[in-house]
């Protein structure tokens, strides 16, 4: 707000597109659902910790799916967990986004051929918006992915009627 500080005498008005305003507010505070399924979670924690601090770009960890906008699937998703991941995704309120973090969540990773118990990519059960490759990805990669997600949110047109 630095640009506008102390520039107005009385009541003030800004003219903007409603959609852009909505997108701007949504893209700058995508709270993410805090859970990790495997070792990628360590890097996710590092990204949330003070050195990288993804709270700077609006990502605040929430412990309940009801309060979250983004689900970061951090790590291997087993068959047993896949059912629960799907249930948690369904509990999140719209609009909701998914970031598949690491090679396990994107494609099964090292378990892609012989892991009888591993889901070969979380996109089999839930729609994924951003894939972050790496095993595990460094916090920088995750932040890059999250910024990509913010760009994606900015380009959305939530109020425009979808043409068939």
């Amino acid at each position: 707000m630095g640009l506008l500080t102390n520039k107005f005498a009385e009541d003030n008005v800004i003219v903007a597109k409603l959609e852009k305003l909505l997108n701007w507010s949504r893209s700058t505070s995508p709270w993410f659902f805090q859970f990790g399924t495997a070792c990628c979670a360590i890097e996710m924690m590092a990204a949330a910790a003070p050195r990288h601090d993804i709270k700077r770009i609006g990502f605040i960890p929430r412990s309940s799916p009801r309060q979250a906008d983004v689900m970061i699937v951090a790590g291997t998703v087993t068959m047993k967990m896949a059912i629960r991941v799907k249930k948690l995704y369904e509990q999140m309120a719209d609009p909701k986004y998914v970031v598949a973090m690491g090679s396990c969540a994107t494609s099964g990773g090292p378990y892609w051929q012989h892991g009888y118990h591993v889901l070969k990519g979380v996109d089999i059960v839930i729609p994924v918006d951003v894939y972050v490759p790496g095993c595990p990805p460094r916090p920088e990669s995750l932040i890059e992915g999250l910024l990509k997600l913010e760009e994606q949110i900015l380009e959305e047109r939530p109020l425009t009627r979808k043409m068939a």
Binding site: M79, K80, A82, I83, Y116, K120, I124
Partner: protein, 302 residues
């Protein structure tokens, strides 16, 4: 070249010239071995004189040590030493069984419930200065052989074929009784089950292995039990070693070995409605699970 190596070379050359080439070849130091062989050739040709047989200090001292001591003598010796205040020698004994028995006896003698044993005759002269050496003599004894002998005496019908130096095969039927005995017998006292695992050996054989350890005597035993795939039933030892509870659940989860008598035999890692036993060699991966289709190959993979 150090003095030690030179002595070793001289020794090996003498052995080789006397026809004992095996000891020369068995030498682990490459340089020493090569030099010794070269010298042997030279001596045979006549270009070098045969070196004198060296006398190493190590051999002199070891010749004072008695060749062998029976177990009872060893215990008697240690008890005497311990009662004379030299507990270090007792603790330095490598044989766990002997050490344990000696310590137990010391306590008894101190209480007055047992008499002090006589010093074994053959070593009374030389014990004073060589206490370290005569204790090391006992190290040759392998505790496993002792344990195996005890088991063979107690359960002669339950030992399965295939037992070797480091492990013992049992038939499954009487395993619970054997386990109780291994756990409680005072000279064995296997009070710790360090690991339990299952293996598919192929050819319709499943194997369950137990690594036992005695905290008291510090000796080890590996027990193996093999069962056919069609009738994979082994008595559970969950009530003998409590840790076996989860170990056996995992082996059941992965290999489908049924531990009869287990009070809570459920899958431990996989979901309870999973079909099949994944670590068996004939396992077929499921195509779907709760409506989730498992693709063998995803699009774009090669």
């Amino acid at each position: 070249m150090s003095q030690e190596q030179e002595i070793l070379i001289a020794k090996l050359v003498n052995k080789g010239l006397d026809g004992d080439m095996d000891s020369v070849n068995a030498c682990e130091d490459r340089i020493v071995r090569g030099k010794a062989k070269a010298m042997i050739m030279k001596v045979k040709k006549g270009t070098v004189e045969r070196p004198p047989v060296p006398v190493s200090p190590g051999e002199e001292s070891s010749s004072k040590v008695p060749d062998s001591l029976s177990k009872d003598d060893m215990i008697a010796l240690l008890v005497n030493k311990g009662l004379d205040g030299d507990m270090d020698s007792v603790n330095a004994c490598d044989d766990r069984i002997v050490r344990g028995k000696a310590k137990a006896m010391i306590v008894k003698v101190k209480k007055g419930t047992a008499e002090r044993p006589e010093m074994p005759l053959e070593i009374t002269e030389s014990t004073e200065d060589n206490s370290q050496n005569d204790i090391k003599v006992e190290k040759v004894q392998d505790p496993f052989q002792e344990i195996k002998k005890m088991i063979e005496e107690k359960f002669p019908d339950d030992i399965d074929e295939g037992s070797e130096d480091k492990y013992i095969y049992f038939k499954p039927d009487n395993w619970l009784n054997i386990a109780k005995w291994l756990f409680s017998d005072t000279s064995l006292l296997f009070n710790s089950l360090q690991c339990q695992m299952g293996i598919d050996m192929g050819e319709d054989i499943l194997e369950s292995r137990y690594n036992l350890h005695s905290m008291k005597h510090d000796h080890y035993l590996e027990v193996r039990i093999r069962v056919p795939r069609s009738n994979a039933k082994i008595p559970s030892v969950e009530q003998v070693w409590r840790i076996a509870d989860w170990f056996e659940r995992e082996t059941y989860d992965m290999l489908g070995i049924e531990y009869s008598g287990h009070r809570d035999l459920r899958r431990i890692l996989l979901p309870s409605d999973w079909e099949g036993w994944p670590l068996r060699k004939d396992y077929q991966e499921p195509e779907t699970y709760h409506g989730i289709v498992v693709p063998k190959m995803k699009e774009g993979w090669d």
